[in-house]
């Protein structure tokens, strides 16, 4: 089932959590709503689920207006961040709940319910824990019970609110891959909320980035990562170095260096900010020709991990982060305190006006 929201606005005591948000989720996709806390992502999810009534706007399921339908009638599966399991029921009873509360004529027989629950518990790999109570399970197991419970009623849409937010890093990683596989298996239209950009980029077909109640950008993980539409998106999707300066003519003059200005930004003298990810910077002992570069002193080196993280101080005192492959790091034989040249392989320039639009620096 496809989901569409049109011009949704929602206020809480004068605070606008969602401002005129529109969004389409095609059937069968796995979409991430990504944003910092307070960006309205959970509110949007709850509006789709019918747990929150929007002040303005409509929610459509399969192009049919569902705004007035209650949560009960929307047939969505909702998975809460803190699981919201019924603690006085066993795992089995929790999963069976949605089947047991069906109206008598739709309700499956006892045997059918038992069969369905065991299928679902097999799907979430918890068959052996059917008779346990939620308090006897780990966080990851509880979240899988919550998922099985939501899937029991064969919802048309699966909505997950920070599904892995309360779990530790390792379990998170496992569960999100597992969620991806599960989605590919059952093909249900799914929307999940997260504030973790890695999670969103790794798991989702499409990522919707929210900021202060507005959609900043939506697209495939590659699109939003490679072509961030706003400075906010650029900053939110990973570590970033900022260089402040002005655009003058066809050049952008930054405090540390100068480069060609992107053609679409206009030619007037306006303040600008350049964004460069740490892995798009390189280090050399000699000033390279033909590429924008600047001089800096190595302040700190962290070689533990997949890449070597180097912190440098520029001549003007700003801090710059660079990530180098281990190979390159060994080749350069970098030492703390060494004066080196930093090359900018790629960067994105935004004018000050765009930056303010994106929430400021």
């Amino acid at each position: 089932m496809s989901i569409e929201v049109r011009h949704i606005t929602k206020r809480f005591d004068g605070f606008a959590a969602l401002k005129n948000v529109s969004l389409k989720v095609p059937a069968g996709e796995l979409v991430a709503l990504l944003g910092p806390s307070g960006s309205g992502k959970t509110t949007l999810l709850r509006v789709i689920a019918g747990l929150e009534v929007p002040d303005e706007g409509t929610v459509l399921f399969d192009a049919q207006d569902a705004t007035a339908r209650s949560a009960r009638d929307r047939r969505v599966g909702f998975v809460f961040q803190h699981y919201a399991l019924f603690r006085h029921m066993t795992v089995f009873e929790n999963v069976a709940f949605g089947l047991r509360v069906k109206p008598r004529r739709e309700r499956p027989s006892r045997a059918q319910i038992a069969k369905r629950v065991h299928e679902l518990l097999a799907l979430v790999q918890l068959e052996r824990l059917a008779e346990r109570y939620p308090s006897q399970l780990s966080g990851g197991q509880r979240q899988r019970v919550a998922l099985a419970r939501a899937l029991a009623v064969q919802p048309k849409v699966l909505l997950l609110d920070e599904p892995f937010g309360a779990l530790d890093a390792k379990v998170r990683q496992e569960l999100r891959r597992w969620l991806r596989r599960l989605h590919d298996e059952i093909g249900i239209t799914s929307v999940f909320v997260t504030h973790d950009q890695d999670e969103a980029l790794e798991v989702a077909d499409r990522v919707v980035i929210l900021h202060e109640g507005c959609v900043e950008q939506e697209g495939s993980p590659e699109e939003v990562y490679e072509h961030p539409a706003t400075p906010f998106v650029y900053r939110f999707l990973g570590n970033v170095n900022l260089f402040h300066g002005r655009i003058e003519g066809s050049k952008v003059h930054l405090r540390e260096f100068s480069a060609d200005a992107p053609a679409d930004l206009g030619q007037e003298a306006i303040p600008a900010v350049a964004y460069a990810r740490p892995h798009l910077l390189d280090i050399d002992h000699q000033p390279p020709s033909g590429r924008p570069h600047f001089r800096a002193t190595i302040a700190h080196i962290n070689a533990a991990g997949a890449v070597v993280k180097i912190e440098l101080t520029t001549d003007s005192g700003a801090i710059v982060n660079v990530e180098l492959p281990h190979e390159r790091y060994r080749q350069l034989q970098l030492r703390k305190g060494a004066v080196v040249f930093v090359t900018v392989k790629d960067m994105k320039v935004f004018t000050q006006a765009q930056s303010t639009l994106g929430g400021g620096i």
Binding site: R72, A84, R87, H88, F97, V101
Partner: protein, 279 residues
């Protein structure tokens, strides 16, 4: 669990297990156990046959029925209505909510005799309320019904105050989860909320019941104190005391104690049993 396991305790960051347990035992001994054992001792002075005769005479048996029956009905009414009151106070915000909330505790503060006199005045055949009940054939004052009303009045705060915090702490996501799974309001209440409230409700019921069993002040005015019909056990005890029949009075007191203790213990067992599965 062996005897060694019986006294074993987990190492805790908070010291003072020995001290606090000692204080608890001392305190309970002074306040509860010693006076109660004195009751038993006093009751035993008359000898077993006299004891048995006193506690099983028809007037005493009738008074147990009145006392425990009315206390049970009163506590039951309080359990139901207290749940409703707590629900309204927690779930809805309306003007005057805090006033209403404060009103709940009044039966605690009011001297019970005042409550008894007020209720009697209201419910007697010529009272504000009684005069409308009389033509309907309902005799509220000087009847078992009057006792139930008085015991309901004094027991009201217990259920409200035990259920209220549990309702307040109840995660709204539980209800939202139930709704998104297709449960209706009643199903959500019965299958999701009620099991959460059950232990608190049981505790409130037990407290209201225990309080009602021992109640004297408010009942003596409204009951009419007719032996065999509206005489409560505490009044029977007072009557015996006034006749200097101390052994008889304590004998009946002992019976009340034993019955009350058995009922409270079984409620606690029920409580423990319903909570141990998942707590």
């Amino acid at each position: 669990m062996g005897l060694s396991g019986f006294f074993r305790r987990r190492r805790s960051v908070l010291p003072g297990f020995g001290l606090t347990l000692g204080l608890t035992l001392l305190y309970l001994s002074l306040i509860v156990l010693i006076p109660l054992s004195a009751t038993f001792l006093k009751a035993s002075t008359a000898g077993w046959s006299a004891f048995w005769h006193t506690v099983t005479e028809p007037r005493a048996l009738a008074s147990y029925r009145v006392t425990f029956g009315a206390a049970f009905i009163g506590a039951l009414v309080n359990a139901l209505m207290g749940l409703v009151v707590a629900w309204v106070l927690v779930r809805y915000h309306f003007p005057g909510r805090r006033m209403l909330d404060a009103l709940v505790d009044l039966p605690f503060a009011l001297p019970t005799a005042v409550a008894g006199i007020t209720l009697t005045t209201l419910l007697s055949a010529h009272g504000w309320i009684g005069r409308y009940l009389e033509p309907l054939g309902i005799k509220a004052a000087f009847s078992p019904l009057g006792i139930v009303i008085a015991l309901t009045f004094i027991g009201l705060p217990f259920v409200v105050r035990t259920v209220q915090p549990v309702l307040q702490a109840l995660d709204p996501e539980l209800e939202e989860g139930a709704a998104s799974l297709g449960a209706g309001r009643w199903q959500t209440f019965r299958r999701v909320i009620a099991p959460e409230l059950w232990p608190a409700l049981l505790t409130g019921f037990a407290l209201a019941f225990a309080r009602a069993v021992g109640e004297y002040g408010s009942v003596v005015f409204i009951s009419g104190n007719m032996p065999m019909r509206t005489e409560i056990t505490p009044l029977l005890i007072i009557t015996k005391l006034e006749q200097y029949d101390y052994a008889g009075a304590t004998a009946i007191g002992v019976v009340m104690l034993v019955i009350s203790f058995a009922m409270l213990l079984s409620i606690n067992m029920l409580h423990w049993w319903s909570g141990k599965r998942y707590a």
